[in-house]
Amino acid sequence: MPYHLFKCSECIPEREKHAVVKAEGEDLSFCLPLGYLNTIPGSISERGCAFCGAKHVIGTPMKDVIHLCHGPVGCTYDTWQTKRYISDDGNFQLKYTFASDMKEKHVVFGAEDQLRKSILEAFKAFPHIKRMTIYQTCASALIGDDMNALAQEIMEEMPDVDIFVCNSPGFAGPSQSGGHHKINIAWINQKVGTVEPKITSRYVINYVGDYNIQGDAEVMVDYFRRMGIQVLSIFTGNGRYDDLRGMHKAHLNVLECARSAEYICNELRIRYGIPRLDIDGFGFEMLNESLMKIGLFFGLEKEAQAIIDTETARWKPELDWYAKRIKGIKVCLWPGGSKLWHWAHIIEKEMGLDVVSIYSKFGHQGDFEKGIARAKKGTLAIDDPNELEAVEAMEEWAPDIIFTGVRPGEVAKKLRVPYLNAHAYHNGPYKGYEGWVRFARDIYNAVYSPIYQLSGLDISRDDFPLDQGFKTQRLISNPEIKDENGERQYSGQYDCVTPLRSKEYPPYPEPLSKAI
């Protein structure tokens, strides 16, 4: 069998079916870990809760919204300032978080009045913000406050405001993924179709499942805009609340992170007949194909090709410079869900990396299907690895670098394995052509950092030369590598996103009276 039981988990044998090693000749009918099942208590999993999946991941990237949690203050505090989901107009969504501050007396007597006052105060404090999302938490779910009714009442009293209610308490599912699901469905049920958007182009999409990590979504929207496509809404990175109420008027849903946002695309397909097109914004080849697919859909092939040509000419020599040098580097890929499959294959193909293991914190079996389909044989796949398993796998599969979150990254640090932040990036964005070069550069700078040479030295025992001087990353990687084809190091700016915001574009092609 392909299953792998870690030594540290022999006493919890149910973990066996959560890890597989892809072997020669084994396909998905044979090799797939279990996923999205309840966590084993006490196993020290990395998973978060359904509240954070709803509020933190999908809710708060919406930029013109007061995000208010109905519950004790901790849920709010904890899901604030731990993401790099930026916006193009001042980052209100990063800077401000709101709570109804539920206390013991409210648990006994109800907290609706407390919530009402909190809502009114929040609108009063920020009079220019007219949209709000209220998030349920474990405590408010258990005491049973009727948030929907209250939101309705307030909207009637204050006709210029609109409130979205997200009932996704922390316990609602095995992981944050439960919250992704709940907020997707709640949004389409409550809000889609309540605003008629202004259609300004012949070609209209929703860009779904991108949270604008360090500007990812802005990079992608720049390409779409250059093709003449109107991005009606972004779900939800740098997204506007009212734009997202008008999702039903797009011609196409372009879906990036299917893990967190396929639900709304599926529902939009069934309810409004908008087709769902899954794309990959990571990697030159995948991005080329993605842009071309959108181009084909709208008859904008030439426009897509123009972007592909321009961007490839500009950035490919820089990608290649790094790819030559990071070739063969062994990678452990430990993202939340979708980067498992977005990255598994293309970092091997375009950067020459060797992906030895793919883990997911909250992925479902569908994510492992995609990831394992793209992985080569010998790859270890783990669903919800706990801390001991992660360490054991790191020793056995011996990656040179791990792409994961802040805290597991600290575990890796002590094992002298460099980490890159897979959730928030080191020096992102990583999407787009330039972003892909930035990713390669971050990998290069991580694995060839002189610090890992120094950290392996035991000055009490090892003999070490005293006259070697310093070594740059290039000297550590391989100084013999020649760049005959004009390969060069990254030449972009520290901030490659802000300049996009002041860019001017030609007018959209006018909408036809009848959409295609």
Partner: protein, 462 residues
């Protein structure tokens, strides 16, 4: 009245100063050696707290969750605690101390963590782990009561109640530090060493700052042992530096074992450190040595360079852990600064009668507001509405946007300080802390002068 204590005028919270009780209990638990807590609730209650610790210390700390899911919330989840204890003990053979930390969810559904500890003690632990010294300690920290501050206070008390055991006098002093950084513990232990005083430090957290070793053995953890905790009952006395973080444990030891006890003041700044040393001297009979007179002199020298030239009349706002805020305000007053706004981020009823705050209401001669149950909007909003003008803010990283957007320099202090490198390594306590704080504040002001071209040329001849 120039200085008044008042409660925040709003009901809800805009940008909280604290997180909730379970975080405090978790912070206490990581101070104990061979201890992994189990937080009984949703997974986020652990995952985000671990992330917060990792952000602050740039290191990893182990804490487990009972992973309460939907079925548990409906039908009760106490079986998840039983399973969590077993799984944890099986896989972490070194673990001896397992606090069971409750949350809002499991308190509301009424899971009986005391009952389950009794059950496990007489069942699982006897049957399966008879050869191991395992302590299960129920800690009630519903998130809708108090804040991370009271969570720390409650957890520390419960650890002491569980372990403290009268045997023979240890000759040591109990030093209950409150919520501090590793750098503070180093500074405090240095002071005690100079005085030749042996102490049991709750908690020994210098080892939070762990090395990256060639053999990969480095790991961040607390170092307070079970014996240390047991022996708290046999100390010659207790000094708790903070009233709100550790005060309950100190009081318990006093009431139960009749230990001479001093609570406060938080030794921030020269004056409070002087008092701390005098208290240590009184409790132990050890004189204050000349080496500390010298060390104090170095600190005084450093402050003298700064105080009336740069600090005098500078308006400061301070937010964060209550004892820290009060200590910092006292220090600012000694440095001729004007702490015009203090924000205490929870509804602890003790603030209204805190003698240190009352002293300010009596003696301060400028307009000063002390807000309880405050949030960061109490700072940010006042600045945005131009109700106050500030030269400097002292507080943790969660207030960074209030500082950045209002263009007021912020000296990071307290917990968490993830947006600056390595601050956990530096003390704010003791004479060393006084030097660090004053110089950090000065350098923050200097950089601000240079960025804003605010008489930056003054420093040409300093």
């Amino acid at each position: 009245m120039p200085c008044e204590i008042m409660e925040k005028e709003r009901t809800g919270i805009i940008n909280p100063i604290f997180t909730c009780q379970p975080c405090g209990a978790q912070y206490a638990s990581i101070g104990i050696k061979d201890c992994i807590g189990i937080v009984h609730g949703g997974q986020g209650c652990v995952m985000f707290v671990r992330l917060l610790f990792a952000q602050h210390f740039k290191d990893n700390f182990e804490i487990a969750s009972s992973s309460v899911h939907e079925d548990g919330a409906v039908f009760g989840a106490i079986d998840r605690v039983e399973e969590a204890v077993d799984v944890l003990l099986m896989r972490y053979p070194e673990v001896k101390v397992v606090p069971i930390i409750s949350t809002c969810a499991t308190e509301v559904i009424g899971d009986d963590i005391d009952g389950v500890v009794n059950k496990l003690n007489s069942g699982l632990l006897k049957q399966k782990y008879a050869d191991r010294d395992v302590h299960l300690i129920p800690i009630h920290t519903p998130s809708f009561v108090g804040s991370m501050i009271s969570g720390y206070d409650v957890a520390l008390r419960d650890f002491v109640i569980h372990f403290a055991e009268k045997t023979k006098p240890s000759g040591k002093l109990n030093l209950i530090t409150g919520w501090v950084n590793p750098g503070d513990v180093t500074a405090l232990k240095h002071l005690l060493a100079e005085m030749n005083v042996a102490a049991t430090v709750l908690f020994e957290i210098e080892s939070f700052d762990s090395p990256l070793m060639p053999d990969k053995s480095g790991k961040s953890h607390g170092s307070t042992t079970i014996d240390d905790l047991k022996n708290t009952a046999n100390a010659l006395g207790t000094i708790a530096l903070n009233r709100y973080e550790g005060g309950k444990a100190a009081k318990y030891l006093h009431d139960k074992f009749d230990l001479p006890t001093v609570i406060g003041p938080t030794p921030i700044g020269i004056r409070n450190t002087d008092i701390f040393l005098k208290n240590v001297s009184k409790l132990t009979g050890q004189p204050i040595p000349s080496s500390l007179v010298q060390e104090r002199g170095i600190a005084i020298d450093a402050l003298t360079d700064l105080t009336h030239m740069f600090f005098a009349d500078k308006k400061v706002a301070i937010y964060g852990n209550p004892d820290l805020v009060i200590g910092l305000a006292q220090f600012c007053l000694d440095l001729e600064m004007k702490p015009i706004l203090l924000l205490l981020g929870d509804d602890n009823s003790g603030y209204a009668t805190d003698s240190r705050l009352l002293e300010m209401t009596e003696k301060v001669d400028f307009d000063m507001q002390i807000i309880t149950n405050a949030d960061l909007w109490d700072l940010d909003g006042r600045l945005k509405r131009k109700e106050i003008e500030l030269d400097l803010i002292l507080g943790h990283s969660k207030g960074r946007w209030a500082a950045i957007d209002n263009k007021v320099p912020l000296t990071r202090v307290g917990f968490p300080t993830y947006d600056r490198a390595g601050l956990y390594r530096h003390p704010v306590l003791g004479y060393a802390g006084a030097i660090w704080l004053a110089e950090e504040m000065a350098n923050t002001l200097f950089v601000d002068m240079e960025y804003k071209n605010k008489k930056e040329w003054i420093l040409n001849v300093w």
